[in-house]
């Protein structure tokens, strides 16, 4: 069984998640969190968070237990009670 983790998002992402900003779900990686959210709320959230190659978009920041993940760490394993925070970058954008 996958570990239970807490997921937090802000209002602009909650638009694609039925208005909800906090979730408890079972997922063994950040990638699995995103898959679970798109299973529950539709594929739109996956498309907004990840590009066509499955990498997080540049202006999305993901944190696990307050530690920022690099864009290569989507597969990082989660353990019971981990807290995942998904935030749009405060500013950002492409060069």
């Amino acid at each position: 069984m996958s570990p239970k983790v807490k997921v937090t998002v802000t209002a602009v992402l909650a638009n694609y998640l039925g208005g909800q900003r906090e979730f408890t779900l079972e997922a063994d990686s950040v990638k699995a969190v995103i898959e679970e959210l798109s299973k529950r709320y539709g594929p739109e959230i996956r498309k907004r968070l990840l590009d066509d190659e499955g990498r997080p978009r540049r202006y999305i920041n993901i944190y696990v237990n307050d530690e920022a993940l690099s864009h290569q760490e989507l597969d990082r394993k989660l353990t019971e009670g981990d807290e995942v925070l998904i935030l749009p970058a405060v500013s950002g954008g492409s060069p």
């Binding site: 937090t8 802000t10 209002a11 602009v12 992402l13 638009n15 900003r21 907004r48 978009r57 540049r58 202006y59 999305i60 920041n61 944190y63 307050d66 920022a68 925070l85 935030l87 749009p88 970058a89 405060v90 500013s91 950002g92 954008g93 492409s94 060069p95």
Partner: protein, 410 residues
């Protein structure tokens, strides 16, 4: 006169989606950053009208996104002196050097410019509380403007910032939340507070408006040079917001017909221990790698995830500028040199622009005959503990002999 909302709106930097005049900072489609845009007719103002106005950042009213002038919170930010620095120029080996002395703002840093605008917008949006994430200087600026507006203010900043900055912000009446972590940790908490508590965090959800205040530094430079650009503007850089805003301001001055040519080489200076923008520029990379653990005493520039980093990279490339990182020692030495040659007392982060000119001239990356403006962004009084013990201090007995002895050594 209250402006029509059609004149000022928000636009996504990435996908171009336009939004009305709203409190938002992220595009709901692509999560790109929003920035303020203006109908072309908004910029209709002449040089002489501006010159006839009070010396304040608000003399560039037509370039600022406030609709109702009665919402303005103005404690005197902006229109700081642009001074010709001949003695310093000689020491650096250049011929035409100017200092834009933003230590002379009401709370002693350039942050009064964006704060004045952001708190005015908070009033315009009817917000009940405001705040900021800060590396130190913004804390004082936001707290002071909030005090003047009568709004409660909450500051998120790293516990490690200089004591004077903490005390200053607290004495303006702000509630300080000192985070046991980096600026980026403080910024993340501020973003959550903005989201959950419906506060106006000046550099998070008020950011598209906030950054517009910093444009006024660029507008002032061109006006004070007689309505033209210098060859180069050198900017202390952390998030990249000021750097990008100065360039935007200069570009809008051309759009408005106030100057005929907006070309200027934008030059970015960051401390070596936290220089993600410089690194991406030097490596010709399109990716800015966040610095997870900034390692510098130049706290005011210690932002590891620069919010406007990509915008700054774009400006560097478009303007033909250059980026350089400086050691802590170079920044401290530049602050001392600036004080002893020109009488301008800056913090090491504010004097990093001077260190940058010194290094870039030595390395032949900028020409000795260029006309250069160094932005000096914050006062040294707030970082006194970073400055070396000065040599010209003596304790003497209360006797004329002692005085004579000292004077004889000169």
């Amino acid at each position: 006169m209250v402006l029509s909302e059609a004149l000022v709106f928000l636009e996504c930097r990435e996908c171009g989606k336009t939004f009305g005049h709203v409190l938002a900072h992220v595009c709901d489609e692509c999560f790109g950053a929003l920035e303020a845009s203006y109908a072309p007719s908004r910029f209709s103002v002449s040089r002489s009208v501006i010159e006839g106005r009070r010396p304040s950042m608000w003399r560039y009213w037509e370039f600022l996104p406030l609709l109702d002038p009665s919402n303005k919170v103005d404690i005197g930010a902006g229109y700081t002196p642009l001074i010709r620095a001949e003695r310093l120029a000689k020491r650096l080996g250049v011929t035409k050097l100017y200092l834009k002395n933003d230590t002379l703002n009401p709370t002693y840093s350039f942050k009064d410019r964006p704060s004045s605008l952001a708190i005015s917008k908070a009033r315009e949006f009817g917000l009940k509380a405001v705040g900021c994430a800060s590396t130190g200087n913004l804390a004082g600026a936001t707290a002071a403007h909030s005090a003047a507006a009568g709004l409660p203010c909450y500051v998120f900043m790293p516990k490690s910032v200089e004591k004077a900055k903490i005390k200053q912000a607290a004495l303006y009446g702000a509630q300080l939340l000192l985070v046991e972590g980096t600026y980026d940790d403080a910024n993340r908490l501020a973003a959550l507070a903005a989201d959950r508590l419906e506060m106006g965090i000046v550099n998070v959800n008020l950011r598209p408006y906030y950054v517009e205040g910093s444009k006024t530094m660029g507008l002032e430079i061109v006006e004070q040079l007689g309505w033209r650009t210098p060859d180069r503007i050198v900017v202390p850089t952390a998030s990249g917001a000021l750097f990008s805003a100065i360039f935007k301001g200069v570009g809008e001055a051309e759009q408005a017909g106030l100057i005929s040519d907006s070309r200027v080489a934008m030059t970015c200076a960051q401390p070596l221990g936290c220089s993600p923008i410089v690194q991406a520029f030097r490596e010709k990379s399109d990716t800015i790698k966040p610095v997870r653990h900034p390692d510098t005493i130049v706290q005011s520039l210690a932002i590891g995830e620069p919010g406007d980093g990509y915008q700054a990279l774009r400006v560097l490339r478009e303007s033909g500028g250059v980026a350089v990182s400086l050691t802590d020692d170079e920044c401290v030495e530049a602050a001392a040199l600036l004080a002893s040659t020109e009488g301008v007392f800056a913090e090491p982060g504010g004097a990093i622009s001077v260190a940058a000119v010194k290094r870039l001239v030595e390395e032949g990356e900028i020409g000795r005959d260029e006309e250069i403006v160094c932005c000096v962004t914050g006062s040294g009084l707030k970082t006194i503990e970073l400055m070396p013990e000065p040599s010209g201090v003596r304790i003497i007995p209360p006797s004329i002999d002692a005085v004579k002895k000292v004077l004889n050594t000169y």
